[in-house]
């Protein structure tokens, strides 16, 4: 029994890591399509999201099957629950990558009146690094790494506020369609921020998985380090 069960868990782990890789690729490409104004790439991301959605459903079904068949307890139970949640987070990150791609597609067709790519590049680098490390912390079951991801979230929030200011001052004074342009351009920063939030939630779930402590909405991290 334990052997079948362990195989099922091992398989589940492989699947969620695979999904994580697909989502990570889509986020990176979405960022690239935005920065490089690449319409074809943006189109490709939107198409690839279907695979992510299908995989999310398959993983959820697998989790439910394991819960029903094996009645896992303790760390096994936490693992299945955490996979369920991370699965959901990843699917939402996939959607955010699509949102970015859609904006890239729209923006690529229009002349860019101002270039903030340096700040955006920095924010995107930080966000994708957070996502990568959150997934690494799951693979390595490393709560310290997860903790670093959670700490990085503040910086991304700060970058978003900075971009907000820059966008407003750049577009604030009368281009031909400022508000529409401003809205879409800035929305990319908001999408990146949401991705960072979801990476943070993945990291929090890894900490729960490893320690049994729910740290969402709280400041137990320091206590944990002691």
């Amino acid at each position: 029994m334990r052997i079948h069960f362990e195989n099922a868990l091992e398989n589940l782990k492989k699947e969620i890591i695979k999904l994580g890789g697909m989502v990570e690729d889509n986020v990176k490409d979405a960022v690239r399509s935005f920065l490089e104004r690449d319409k074809a790439l943006a189109q490709d991301i939107i198409k690839r999201d279907d695979e992510i959605d299908q995989m999310e459903i398959a993983i959820e079904e697998e989790c439910l099957k394991i819960l029903a068949l094996y009645h896992p307890v303790a760390s096994d139970l936490r693992f299945v629950i955490v996979v369920l949640k991370i699965n959901n987070d990843l699917e939402r990150i996939g959607d955010l990558a699509v949102n970015i791609a859609k904006k890239s597609r729209w923006l690529a067709e229009r002349e860019q009146p101002v270039d903030l790519s340096d700040v955006y590049r920095k924010m995107a680098a930080k966000t994708t690094a957070m996502l990568k490390e959150a997934l690494d912390s799951l693979v390595k079951r490393d709560p310290i790494l997860a903790d670093a991801v959670i700490a990085a979230d503040k910086e991304v929030n700060k970058m978003k506020r900075q971009i907000r200011k820059l966008v407003i001052s750049a577009y604030g004074s009368g281009t031909n369609n400022p508000s529409e342009m401003m809205f879409r351009y800035y929305a990319v920063a908001r999408n990146l921020e949401n991705i960072a939030d979801l990476a943070t939630s993945i990291a929090e779930e890894v900490i729960y998985l490893e320690t049994g402590k729910i740290i969402r909405h709280s400041h137990l991290i320091n206590e944990l380090k002691e």
Binding site: F5, V73, A74, R78, G212, K213
Partner: protein, 255 residues
């Protein structure tokens, strides 16, 4: 190790050692049993669950080589104290065994016998009816109270034994693997019954069925080689136990 999670203990064990001759079966056990809650005892075969359970109502007294030290307090009274009458303890702390063991008498007599022998002053018939009802057996046996208890199914016999224990109006009910000889439907009925009974009684139950322990327990104690390894709320034990050994046992990785 023990946190103050039991707020209203009916039984308090302090540093209990139990020996069979020279063999130590329970080692420095301290544990509190919460009032009107279900405490489940789990652990591998031979770890001392039954030994401990039987110590709670002095059933071990019948074993020649049995020796105990430390204190077990029932409502603050040392049940092994020099003034304590073991018969009185067994009235207050009832027991239900692994395989149903009704007397070879009528269903009615199975319930009425104990109270009658103990000089029960009230209405015996009423006591029999209320005990059978409380054990959710009444509807199934009300038309055949005169029939021999052995005519009942195994699951019904076990509920009859629970009704018999209840009729003595105990405070605590001890159960040693009460469903291990029963089919899933009878098991489910007994589990339901145990959950209902905690409204009135404190229940301590030994089980080898992890799912049963998690379904019915409020608290769970994990024993290993005579020692209490971990005691906590059942929900805590089955989601994130503190001890690695508990984790390995309940997830089936043991050994």
């Amino acid at each position: 190790m023990e946190k103050e999670i039991v707020k209203n203990p009916i039984i308090t064990c302090e540093n209990v050692d139990i020996f069979y001759g020279n063999v130590k079966a329970i080692d420095a056990l301290s544990l509190k049993v919460d009032r009107q809650k279900v405490t489940t005892l789990i652990g591998p075969s031979g770890c001392g669950k039954s030994t401990f359970l039987r110590a709670l109502n002095r059933m071990n007294d019948f074993i020649e080589s049995f020796r105990i030290s430390g204190r077990i307090l029932l409502e603050g009274e040392d049940i092994y104290g020099p003034q304590t009458d073991p018969v009185q303890i067994r009235l207050r702390v009832g027991m239900v065994f692994q395989s149903p063991n009704p007397f070879p008498k009528s269903i009615f007599e199975n319930i009425a016998l104990g109270p009658r022998l103990n000089g029960y002053k009230g209405d015996l018939e009423e006591l029999v009816v209320s005990s059978l009802k409380r054990a959710y057996l009444w509807d199934e046996v009300k038309d055949k109270l005169k029939e021999n208890a052995y005519s009942l199914s195994g699951g019904q016999q076990q509920r009859l034994c629970i009704a018999r224990a209840i009729a003595m109006q105990p405070d605590v009910l001890l159960m040693d693997e009460p469903t291990s000889a029963l089919d899933p439907i009878s098991t489910a009925k007994i589990e339901e019954l145990i959950l209902e009974l905690q409204e009135k009684y404190t229940i301590v139950i030994v089980t080898h069925n992890m799912q049963q322990a998690s379904r019915i327990g409020s608290y769970t104690a994990f024993f290993y080689q005579g020692r209490l390894i971990e005691f906590d709320k059942t929900s805590k034990i089955f989601t994130s136990p503190s001890e690695k050994m508990t984790e390995e046992y309940i997830t089936g990785r043991f050994g």
